[in-house]
Each structure stands twice: as C-alpha cells, then as structure tokens.
Assembly symmetry: D5
Homo-oligomer: 95 residues x 10
Amino acid sequence: MVTAIVLVQAERLRIPETAAELANVTHVKEVYSVTGEWDIVALLRLPSYEDLDDVVTGQLRRLPGIMRTQTMLAFRTYAPELLDQGFGVGLNEQG
Amino acid sequence: MVTAIVLVQAERLRIPETAAELANVTHVKEVYSVTGEWDIVALLRLPSYEDLDDVVTGQLRRLPGIMRTQTMLAFRTYAPELLDQGFGVGLNEQG
Amino acid sequence: MVTAIVLVQAERLRIPETAAELANVTHVKEVYSVTGEWDIVALLRLPSYEDLDDVVTGQLRRLPGIMRTQTMLAFRTYAPELLDQGFGVGLNEQG
Amino acid sequence: MVTAIVLVQAERLRIPETAAELANVTHVKEVYSVTGEWDIVALLRLPSYEDLDDVVTGQLRRLPGIMRTQTMLAFRTYAPELLDQGFGVGLNEQG
Amino acid sequence: MVTAIVLVQAERLRIPETAAELANVTHVKEVYSVTGEWDIVALLRLPSYEDLDDVVTGQLRRLPGIMRTQTMLAFRTYAPELLDQGFGVGLNEQG
Amino acid sequence: MVTAIVLVQAERLRIPETAAELANVTHVKEVYSVTGEWDIVALLRLPSYEDLDDVVTGQLRRLPGIMRTQTMLAFRTYAPELLDQGFGVGLNEQG
Amino acid sequence: MVTAIVLVQAERLRIPETAAELANVTHVKEVYSVTGEWDIVALLRLPSYEDLDDVVTGQLRRLPGIMRTQTMLAFRTYAPELLDQGFGVGLNEQG
Amino acid sequence: MVTAIVLVQAERLRIPETAAELANVTHVKEVYSVTGEWDIVALLRLPSYEDLDDVVTGQLRRLPGIMRTQTMLAFRTYAPELLDQGFGVGLNEQG
Amino acid sequence: MVTAIVLVQAERLRIPETAAELANVTHVKEVYSVTGEWDIVALLRLPSYEDLDDVVTGQLRRLPGIMRTQTMLAFRTYAPELLDQGFGVGLNEQG
Amino acid sequence: MVTAIVLVQAERLRIPETAAELANVTHVKEVYSVTGEWDIVALLRLPSYEDLDDVVTGQLRRLPGIMRTQTMLAFRTYAPELLDQGFGVGLNEQG
C-alpha cells in the first residue's frame, strides 16, 4: 500500500466540483477543500507504486478544474496504532 | 469532526524521530515522511475546532525536531463513500 | 464564534468594487483595501466552523473581481479586554 | 482612525506568549494565532497615522518572540454597517 | 505630510509612457524608471493619510500600462537636515 | 545627478538607529522606515555614477544594523515640473 | 525498479566530498555536481519502493555536508530504447 | 561526454506525450515523469559541450508541450564504479 | 565606461533569434544563451550612464521575443589586469 | 572556449575584498560589484568545459567571503562582430 498526498490549485469558481470529481478518481480515499495557499488536498491509497502514474498523471491531473498539482509520496507511515510494533512501520509491513 | 493537514519541515537528522513523536500527539491520525519540499505530513482529526490551538500550537509545534509548519484546515471533506449522499458533505454531517 | 482573515488579490481596476462586494458577504465584519503585496483584507466572524465552506468557497471566492485568496483561520483570539480572565482565551469561552 | 493589520512570524515555542504580549501593546485591538504561513495576525486601530511608528516600530516589533513582521495599512475601510452611507467610507468619515 | 513609495511593474513596451503618466498623478513628486526587479518607482507626498486611497487606488493603479504595484508607506522620515532636531522626526513635526 | 533607491532590511531592534545612521551617509537625501516587506527605504542623489560604489558598498552597506539591501538605480527621472520640457527628462539634462 | 532523483544543496566548502559520499550510498547510481540553484544531483535506482525511506531518510539525508534535499520520484520512465515497445513503459515492465 | 539534467514543466494534459517526445530527442538517455514541483526530468549525455545549444535550445525546448525548463549541467560525475580510481572523476577521464 | 549585465527570459521558441537581435543593440558587447533560470545574458558597455535608459528601456526591452529582464549595473569593475594598479579600479579610472 | 557567468552573494562587509579575490581566480576575466539582488557577477572564459569544476567548485566557491553562488553556462555566444559570419556562432567556431 502506497500513500500519496496531492496538493491542488483549482479554478476559483469550480473548487467544490473539482473536489467532488477528485473524490471519484480510483484509489482516492479523501479530498478536502482547505485554507491556505492550496485549494484542495487529496489523500490517495494505491495498491502499488506502479499505480501512481495512471492515477495521478492519467486521471487526477486531467480533471478540468485543476490548475496546478504537487504530489508528495509517503516514504513511511507512522500511524499511532502501528507504533506499538516498533519505531515507525515500513510500508511493506502495512496492511 | 475537524480535519487538519500539517506540512512539516524537520531537522534533517531527526526526521524519523520527529515523525514518530508527531504520531503520538493527541488527535493525530497518521504521519508520513514524504518526498518533495516538505519532510513530513500529519493528518489530524479533531473532535471540535476548539481543540486546534491546544493540539497544533500547544503540542505539535513544540516538538524538538520541528523547524517549520504550515497548517491547512479542511473546509469540507469529499470522501467517495459519503458522496452518494449528495455533492460533498458538510463537516457537521460527518460521523 | 470563529474568526477568519482572508487576504485577497483583486483585479487592479475593480478594487473598490470588489471590497464593497466583499463587505456584503454574510459574516464578513470589515473589509480594508491595504498597502503591500495584497490588495484587500477581509475579517470574518462566523457563528461556527461549519459556515466557513459556504462563506469562503461558496460566496467570497466567487466574487467577479477576485484573483487570488489566502484564508487564515484563528486558532485563538487574544483580545486585551478578555486577557484579564487568564492567558489568552480559547474560542469556546468567547462570547 | 487608522487600521493596520500586522502579519507576524514568531518563535515556535513562544507563540501564545508573543500573542498575549502583542495584545497588550497600545492600540492593538485583537490578536489571533492563525493557520497558514504566518503565526499571528494583529489588528490595530490607531487614533492617527502618526501613532504608527511608535506602536509598530517602537513597541510591537521589539517584543522578544517576534521574528518577522509585515505591516499592511488600510487605505479605506468597507464595513457593512457603514456601507449604506455610500460606496465605501473614507477614513476621515469613520467614527 | 505623508510619504509613500510605490514600486511598479509596467508593460514592457510602455515604460516611459507609464512613468510619464504616473508623474502627472496628483501628489506624485518624482517618478524613476529603475534597474532591477521593478520597472518604475514613484515617490508620493500626500497632504494627509486620507488622500492615499484616492491617489493610489483611485488614480495611480488605474493607469493603462500598470501591471503590478506594491505601496510602502513611510512610518517616519529621517532627513539629514531635520536630524539636528533630534533622533528622526515624527511625521507631524514635518513641514 | 544620479538617483538611487535602496531597499533595506534592518535588525528588528535597531530600525530607528539604522535609519538615522543611513540619513548621515553622504549623498543620502531622505530615509523612511516603511510598511511592507522591507524596513527602510533610502533615497540617494549622487553627483555622478562613480560615487555609487563608495556610497553604497563602501559606507551604506557597512552600517551595523543592515541585514540585506537591494539597490535600484534610476535610468530616468520623470518629475512633473520637468515634464513640461518634453516627455521625461534624460539625466544629463537634470539640474 | 524505482528511479528517484534527489536535488541537493551542500555546504559550500564540502561539495566534492559530499558528492563522493553520496555516490557510496546504496542504490545511488550516479552523482553530479551541477550548475544552477542546486549543488548536486543524485540518481537512485531502487529495487523496490520500500527501499526509499531507508536510502533517502536513513542514509542520504544524514550525510554531514548535506543542507537541503528535494526528492523527486519517477512515476514512469521513458527511455528511447524502451519506447519501441509502446508509448512509455510502466515501471513494472522495466528490467 | 557531458551530462545535463533538464527539469521540465509541461502542459498538464500532455505530460506523457511530452515525455515520450523528449525521449526521442538526440542524446536524451532517459526521461521520467516525476513527483513534486516539476513534471518531467530528462537526462542527457552529450558527446561534447558544443552539442548543448542544438539539443536543448534547438530541439528540446521547442517541443509543443513544454512550458518551462531549467537546465543543470554536470561539472563532474561521481559514479560509484568510477570512484575506485580516485576522488570523483573529471569529465575528460570519462568513457 | 559603464558596464551593465541584463538577465533575460525570452519566448521559448525564439531564443536564438532574440539573442541575435540583442547582439545588434547599440553598446551590447556580448550575448549568451545560458543554462539555468534565465535564458539569455547580455553584457553592455555604455559610454556613459546616461545611455542606459535609451539602450535598455528604449531598445533592448522592446525586442519582440523578450518576456522579462533584470538589469544589474556595475558599481565597480575588478579586472585582473587592472588589479595591479591597486585594489579594484573605480569606473572613472577605466579606459 | 567556454563562457560562464557566476552570480555571487557575498558577506556584506567583504564585498570589495571578495570581488578582488574573485578577479584573481584562474580564467576569471572580469568581476563586477552590482546593483540588485546579487552582489557580484564574475565572467569566466575557460579553455575547455573540463576546467569548470576545478575553477568554480575547487577555487571560486571556496573563497572566504562567498555566501551563495549561481553558475550560468553559455550555450552559445552571440557577439556582434562574430554575427556577420551567420546567425550566432557555435562555441567550437570561437577563437
């Protein structure tokens, strides 16, 4: 399981629509319209690293209201409940 | 339920430690070390908006390895499973 | 009561009009045309956090003269007159 | 009456203290710790333009926890209740 | 007397014309085409603070060749000849 | 006569002192503490271009409170009173 | 096989040493000292995505001369020789 | 042999096509669509420095989908296998 | 003799043409297409400071392919062969 | 012959000294203290591309007063006198 966080600047008049369309892209778990410099943040859970290109380049970035994106890929996930099993959990040990 | 996403720049030699400490702050759900300009991203689920100050200013930003943070607060969450109930779900309708 | 401060860049020829329109958006208390990098600053007092999305995304950002906005949400308000009641006042204790 | 909005970056471990000290500077009406790139926003109401230098340079910027400030001065205030008296109100007509 | 310094980015093919038009705006004392990141700098001497909005927002920023402006307002003027009268001169003591 | 405009970032606790010292540097006509991203703006009138290095590099930038400077040199001055003599006045025709 | 490109700013006096140390980190294929805003670029070929955290966070970023890094992860590789096999090659088809 | 690394921002809807076209430019060895602020990274191996202008300015930057590029030229290559021959290898000793 | 260095961003498809046109502007000595953030660098030797406005604003910046320029003016020239005559040579002593 | 232009930020109190030291580095032809964001610009003429690393990384960047550098390498030189021989001159045809 690979986690990606995508920061999105969207067309000012289509933020809710773009956020809703983002939420319908495969492997997108949650989408937030947010305060600050960016307009939307999307949280992706991908079965494998190889899905990234299709989901981000192939689908997400092609949505009409998108103006700019910046994808951050998780090296490692540190979830509280996983933490008891030792210092941060490598991705391959993830469910 | 209020969602906040905190972008973090951490001391270069203490990224795993800082991420692990972040994961132990109340209401922090998941923490990722990430590629790109930022080092860590923390996902917070707060019972109410009033918890923000204590969690972010009071705890999260006081962790030793933290150098810079930028907090983005979710206006609205667009989760696929919620979407069937109409166009994006206002925060108060969230579980 | 939630306070938000919105920094606005507006179309150069429509700053007064945009500022006046901003002042008529619900929950907007005061609007200033300002010196510096931004053109307008709007001060919002929202009954609850859930009003944010409707006011900022739904109304404010859709005004014609708006080019770019950056919303800052108040964690905590430190008003002199409230200060006698202890070190800064949590939002829930606010009137 | 002159309105100034001061954006503040403060020392990470002294944000509440710095905000409280800011609230005690003469002519400072409200101070907010905020989300986003800046840490604190202070709202000043000055009897006259000539008070600016003493308040901002002489007091506000000399507080220990302050790292960087950016002062925005209001050209004109557009408050809803004032608006009925015509398109935006010049500062001299303000109460 | 209030001094304002306005940094201007102008249309590349209309810098001299824009500079000349700027020089004809009320209360504009001198205008320079300059080296560096900005194209033009205008020096304004305003009878009172209340003139700012009309001159900068109402006239200066509406000139055709203007693309971006950044207004800096003087807190205090430190002119050598005034200096003998004590450490920097408050604006109200200015001629 | 050559005009230079120097933008200055100064040590937060020494802005008035630095501004006063700047005002005493040869050929510095006026110095302002200002709102916005910069702290001080100095206006220089130099007898000739060759004085620049000595005044800016040799004196101005060596003042103790100075942190960062950005010098803008005037290509051409457009002063209203000069303008009647034709479209903007080349430096050599300046008094 | 996962390709990562890491942009590095290094201590000015230790660029060659830092580049050489980088070249000895596991899975680092080539390292270049470069012109422009960054000092060094490292090209990594990782057996699997899960190696990223250990190599980048665990080893590369902990080298003494490193000041700032920015990791870019390849979504997809487009190598001329692979191209005959159809439009760009997904990572999983890579040798 | 001269190595150049070119960072590319491409039109959002033509990233795969642009990457594939880049891969067909002479002396381009590998092209990656990547996470982060840039969209594509191209790795060039040029027989001699004199080929740069033709390849980068003459071909690469003229591709339709390209919006912005930043070329970084390798001063020196530090490849692990070359390292045994002494501290980093000058370009002229390269194969 | 006054030296100016002009950094130029040019239209992507007209870099060679723009560079060649720049080379034909009076007092332009050499023009380079370059790596990095800028596209072209022009080196100017002007008989006197007063030529700047005509050459840079009047000619150079009006060339069709030019998008953005940043002019840097030399305070002082430090040429090795001149150096034997004492520490850096003031412009007026230059040939 | 390869031309490189190096932009330099130097310690504020050592600009003339740093510029003079730069002028004594091999293959450095001219050095200017300049207006604007950078402090010094160095013009290098290198016999071959392979000299770059030694001159820039090995000598120039190790000078004590240097804080930050950005090297731009010339793809192609467009000198007026060369231009009669056809559109811009490839480096290999340079004297």
